[in-house]
Amino acid sequence: MHGWAGQILRIDLTHGEIHKEPINETWATDYIGGRGLAARYLWELMPDRTVDPFSPENVLIFATGPLTGTNTSCGSRYMVVTKGALTNAITTSNSGGFWGPELKFAGYDFVILQGQAPRPQYLWIYDDTVELRDASSVWGKGTFESEDRIREEVGVADAHIAGIGPAGENRVRFACIINDKHRAAGRSGVGAVMGSKNLKAIAVRGTGGVSVANPAAYMKALWTQHGKMSNSEDRKGMSALGTAPTMDMTNQFGALPTRNFKEGTFEGTENLNGNAIRNGESWIRNKACFACTIACGRVTRPSDSAGKFMVNTHPRNWKIAGEGPEYENAWSLGADCGIQDLDAVLMANLLCNDLGMDPISMGATVASAMELYEKGVLTDEVTGTPMPFGSGEALVRMTEATGYREGFGDELAEGSARMGAKFEHPEVFMGVKGQEFPAYDPRGFQGMGVAYATCNRGACHLRAWTPALETQEGQDAHSPVGKSSWVIEQQNQSTAHDNTGICLFTGFAGSVLEDLSELTVAATGVEYSHEEFVKAGERTWNLERVWNLEAGLTAADDDLPERLLKESHTKGMSKGVTVQLDQMLPEYYSGRGWDTDGRPKQEKLSELELAEFLV
């Protein structure tokens, strides 16, 4: 095989067994790789999809794509696929950095983890050598220290490591997997699933490469992709300022969720946007993942004044350089909590990376708690510290407490859906399928409403991102008309994109999806037409949907909070607007070829060769 390594690792953690298997070539051809192929394996290996995410029967897959580890621009990505601890749905959590390519260089497309180790372990992969090792030296440690210690123990300085911090070990519902210290498979609690398996990390070093089927065609397609991206003004913008400039746009459109989605505009954006990060004293430089020609990453270090947030329970070295913040973190730890102190955002972001937590869910959960605090539902006696909106102190203290499940942090660690329900105010949860929304208020961009409601892994902005279309000439961002068909198309396309192992940002930096389908054909030797390539994305989307239906989710889970459906902002460009999901959702189901209960019809399943998957 080419593109694909052709080999997967299956690890039985319960019995400590390591199996090397050839990849299923039929499935690889049908799903291309990454997210889609992992969903197919997850379907096969989890016949009971109703099991608890923390049960040994949950399967955890680290999945690369055929272009991961090639010199395709942004060829860095791997996907973690499992049943999410936060959502009880299939989850597909993506990360960049350098870990995914290293796994391909070692000769493997996937690592599949089943069962539960009897005591904390980590997996060490060095080309053909694969072994489970005792993790007692690093269990309980943050991800930064753990990576350094594991490299020392295995004696390979350029090993790349993906693992969990205390949050994953403590099964914080939105714990993430961190690789290369500052990159994350962030959402849906994949780190908690890893922690439930007593698996601390996967360390990998590979000395091979990735072969391509047709080098001449591959290099021609590569030259095209690189040329488009090099000349792209959008790419230049991301290189210069990262993604945080998006905050200015959403603020202008009244789509910047503020104080737990009460409003859509925030007064503190000048302290948190791309210019503030780039020009402030915390700035060091930008950073790229493997093979990336964008370098949207930010490297920052908290300023001296951030010492005022020095947490007392677990003193640590906080004056370190880390990656971030991106738009999502600057929003969730900033505007959503009413905070405009960049130091607070940087400290909380560093803690999220070291303890191993999704900063989107972390900030959003703190924001929900802040709302409960201001309502008087939570008091100082319950929380242990004042938690009004705008308090950077509360954010940083609670972020650390959450990672260790200490004090009120134990409540926050369950996520805002469970926390809100426990305190009898479920209306403070701003999300879908148990997962907190990211940084777009659908009252500002209607299309994001149907995108959030229908995403298979819960509220997510990556599967369909409508602002670019909604801000175009002739479009009305407040109208629900036509938005469902955009969302369907984008979901299919982004899924096809994810299957290759390439970062989604190539599409925001001048390259088009046809570039990727050409590169995939040249790399794998499989003669996909572009339509077949996108169809693999649609096939993946429908398989994920069927998986969720089998797990017990229904159309009732394709919903939005009452706040978005019935309440509106009092100021800003989206004042007075509510989300018209009742118009968009039926169109979405119909456009997908699903019935009115959101179940794929047999005709659609047959078209996608999934007929036997849903009866």
């Binding site: 003004e233 959008d234 230049k236 913008g237 991301m238 210069a240 300022l241 993604t243 400039p245 998006t246 200015d248 746009m249 202008q252 459109f253 946007n273 791309g274 210019n275 020009n279 949207c296 991106e326 738009y327 999502e328 990211p438 940084a439 777009y440 902005h461 991102w465 602002p467 670019a468 801000t471 175009q472 000439e473 002739g474 961002a477 940002f505 925001f508 930096a509 460009m573």
Partner: protein
């Protein structure tokens, strides 16, 4: 006529006399269009900006500005 202008992202620092804050009030000839204003304000015309005029999206670059208008210009962005 006087027009308030605010720019964001990589456009900051490019306006005449811009100290990096990307804001200013500019004296422009009567009947200046948005397109002409961009040119006079050192903003490269070929980029597909998101433009707001008086807090509403404006796509017509031939739109004629009025005295007291507020013009906002943002480069295209991507979330993440």
């Amino acid at each position: 006529m006087q027009v308030d202008v605010e720019v964001f992202g990589t456009l900051r620092g490019k306006l005449p006399g811009d100290d990096g804050r990307g804001k200013g009030t500019f004296e422009l000839p009567e009947d200046t269009t948005i397109s002409q204003a961009l040119d006079q304000l050192n903003i490269p015309a070929e980029i597909r900006y998101i433009i707001m005029l008086n807090e509403n999206p404006e796509h017509d670059r031939d739109c004629v500005l009025q005295s007291g208008d507020k013009l906002v210009v943002m480069p295209p962005v991507a979330g993440g």
